[in-house]
């Protein structure tokens, strides 16, 4: 399969089941909503060392938010519900409770077959030292915690669902700037897709890994088959003209969400085409035995 001179490998991305949640963060204006959201989704690129993978899903207009202020929605994913709940609580406490004018609300209430209610501000309320008050509107409980800028407002709980993490594709290009330009185009297109985040810096990861290492203590190490500088000395996957490979990883609330995002991203990268040095699109997998979700590139782009 070749799109605009870019060959699409006959391979698949292998993804895993994760637990996901969405939180709506509002503030006096978008600047402060972003400040809270960026802090809350900071250091959340990979579950390997960050606990969660998190990112900003999209901006919310005042009409879309519960309190009529501008905001952003964020998605958070973890490998287990216990880790997700713990990370949600600590990040909310350190990043939203602390951020001037910011408030947090549930982002998943219905629309999915199995929604588990998890704590959002339920335990943070105790920061109020007895001065906290709760209000119930339309069946949802909100907490008002007195803080120095006024009141911190948060919904008591949000919804957690079974979701999918680790959807991915690789962009193989003739030079590093060309690979990066294709990634930027892909991320621009994918950031318009709802229900997904690309958790790595700017959405792009350069340090794709393989399972295992020559060092006993490492469970993963650099994916030498895709390292352009090792072409001559390793069992390489790269043809002579490839000089740089970058990967985009996608976490989504459902399997179809990831397919939509992958299609949008690959299409945007392919639009630059062979004339801009984009040669191949591939994907990362572990032979198909580890992850239950397989995203076949050619099927997605068909």
């Amino acid at each position: 399969m070749i799109i605009n001179g870019v060959s699409i490998d006959d391979t698949f991305a292998e993804a895993f089941g994760m637990r996901g949640t969405r939180v709506l963060i509002t503030a006096q204006n978008l600047r402060w909503a972003y400040n809270a959201a960026r802090a809350m989704t900071g250091f959340a690129t990979s579950v390997i060392a960050c606990g969660v993978e998190a990112g900003i899903e999209r901006e919310l207009s005042p009409e879309e938010t519960p309190d009529g202020r501008p905001g952003v929605s964020i998605l958070m994913f973890a490998m287990s519900s216990a880790v997700l709940m713990k990370q949600l609580e600590t990040r909310l406490g350190q990043c939203v409770l602390t951020c001037p004018t910011a408030a947090a609300f549930s982002g998943i209430d219905d629309g999915y077959p199995e929604i588990t209610k998890i704590n959002l501000g339920k335990n943070l309320r105790f920061f109020g030292d007895g001065f906290q008050t709760s209000k119930v509107f339309n069946g949802k409980r909100y907490w008002r915690v007195p803080v120095m800028d006024g009141e911190f407002m948060t919904e008591e709980s949000t919804g957690m669902i079974r979701s999918v993490g680790g959807g991915n594709f690789l962009i193989l290009a003739e030079s590093q700037p060309q690979a990066l330009a294709a990634c930027e185009a892909a991320i621009d297109a994918m950031s318009k897709v709802p229900n997904v985040i690309m958790p790595f810096p700017g959405g792009v990861v350069r340090s794709g890994s393989k399972v295992g290492s020559k060092y006993k203590s490492l469970i993963a190490s650099t994916n030498d088959a895709f390292c352009p500088t090792l072409k001559g000395i390793t069992k390489t996957e790269l043809s002579p003209e490839i000089e740089s490979v970058m990967e985009i990883v996608i976490d989504g609330l459902t399997d179809p969400d990831i397919r939509v995002a992958m299609r949008a991203g690959i299409a945007a990268a392919c639009e630059l085409g062979a004339k801009n040095g984009i040669k191949r699109i591939s994907a990362g997998n572990y032979g198909g035995k580890l992850g239950p979700y397989h995203f076949k590139l050619r099927e997605i782009m068909a």
């Binding site: 519960p66 309190d67 009529g68 202020r69 001065f131 909100y142 006024g150 009141e151």
Partner: protein
Amino acid sequence: MSALTFTLKQAIQQRVDVSALTPDNLAGKSLSDIAAIPLDSGRLKLRVDSLFDISGDNAEEIVFNNASGKLDYIGSKMKSGRITVNGGAGSYLGFQMRKGEIVLNGNADAYTASGMAGGLLHVHGNVGDFLAAAIPGDRKGMKGGIVLITGNAGERAGDQMRRGIILIEGNVGSYCASRMLAGTIGVLGSVGDYVGYGMRRGTLLLTQPPKLHATLQDCGTHTLPFLSLMFKSFSNLPSKFAAINKNRVQRFAGDIANDGKGEILVFK
């Protein structure tokens, strides 16, 4: 299917307990069964058909026509459906109501919405004393749901109220929100003396400054974002409160003689 309609045949002298006539109680019953239900009236037990002309067959939609202030416990403990009352209602309208909707076109007497735990109670008229209050012996009044009053309410409105929302478009008598445990009361008109007397928690929202007793303390004027959230949640209600979108208030806390975590918010 037409609404199950009870039309009072003539003015009654003695009070009648009509708590048996709720949608969930009458569901699946034939008209002759319904006609034979005994209603307490003082020492007497009166058949429903001795008081009312009965028509219609949809027990989920009950209508009382020609109703009078002598009919107590309308919609008591109801769990579903809708009751429309044309005329007046006696005491205990919506007593311990759980779910569903009651619309009263007329005035109601004391203890309206007492013990109510859910649903919507809409009074197009005035209500008497002890709106949403606990009956003597109970420790908690209204425990949930929404009460809309287009007219005035009497004294002790919200006494020992525990949860839920009461929105009153008219005036309220003395001791409004007394001993209130939690919940929200909004009043567009005036309130009488001793507002928030013994108030423990909860929110009382007023449009004009009340007369405050000594144990209510001024906490200054603030812009509270939760009010936007609250008024947004009111925006679908058939009430004048649906059109409000203000969040600048003066906050009085109290009653500090009783924990002091209640608040009286007065629009600026």
